[in-house]
Amino acid sequence: MPQPRLISSYLTVLAAQLPAPIVEELADGLTETHRSYLQQGLAPDDAAKSAVAEFGEPQEIVAEFARVNPARRTARRLLGIGPVVGACWAVALITDRVWPGPLPARILVGLALITIIGLLAASALSTRYRLAARAGVAGCVGIAILDAVLITGVTFTGAPMTWLMVAAMVASTARIAFAARSLVPALAR
């Protein structure tokens, strides 16, 4: 039996915002719901209207999927641990009076950090699935690169390896490992 136009349109709206496997699962559920209304004696168009109404607003479904997106969860965790890692670096650099790289490079690192925080915040708060996923992955990659740049910069500056500096480098390395591990499920969606 051909799919009623209302159901096709509903799925098209979802397909524009969600990955194909999720839309396939929703399509199966919506088809079953439609079939159930047909079995109750409704005309095909009325059954389609009831099925779509029962499923709920597409934006509500998309927002719920955005909330369970692994990239969004990773973004929230990175935002949570960010101040801790940042404080480790601030204390180490200020206490040891180490300022790796020339001033323009430091400004660049600062701007990159602001951009990354913006990306992670966009992922953590967005109700749009694809935005939450892409911003989360970009923020995740960005923070890992920034940590690597910080570790490399301090190492090549020849800064004294005090325990504060080692603690900051360990914190950054742990964050790189967390970001890398989190990227696998985030990219699989």
């Binding site: 399509a27 559920g29 607003e57 479904i61 909330r67 369970v68």
Partner: protein, 112 residues
Amino acid sequence: MRAEELKGHLDAVLLAALEDGPRHGYAVIESLRQNTGGRLDLPTGTIYPALRRLEQAGLITGSWSVVGGRRRREYRLTAAGNRALSGKRADWLDFSAMVSAALEGRPCPSPA
């Protein structure tokens, strides 16, 4: 019952719907409807993200099959899901017994 009233208990309700064996999304919804005498009034589409969340938490596991030319995702409880369901069920029984006792003005039974 509206969705807001079920908040906090949706996970337990979904896990319970999978206790008797694997089910796909629509069958989970049908099971909830039957078990609650049709009183559970949730936007059906929001059940699917909840199932994904439980899967990410390792409480259920999903697998694909093809039925009638359509791809279908079926979910089953994991061992962790079974343990979580037992815990949530016990918590709910304690909680409901406490609230019932308070509302009816009788002594609260000791927790199991």
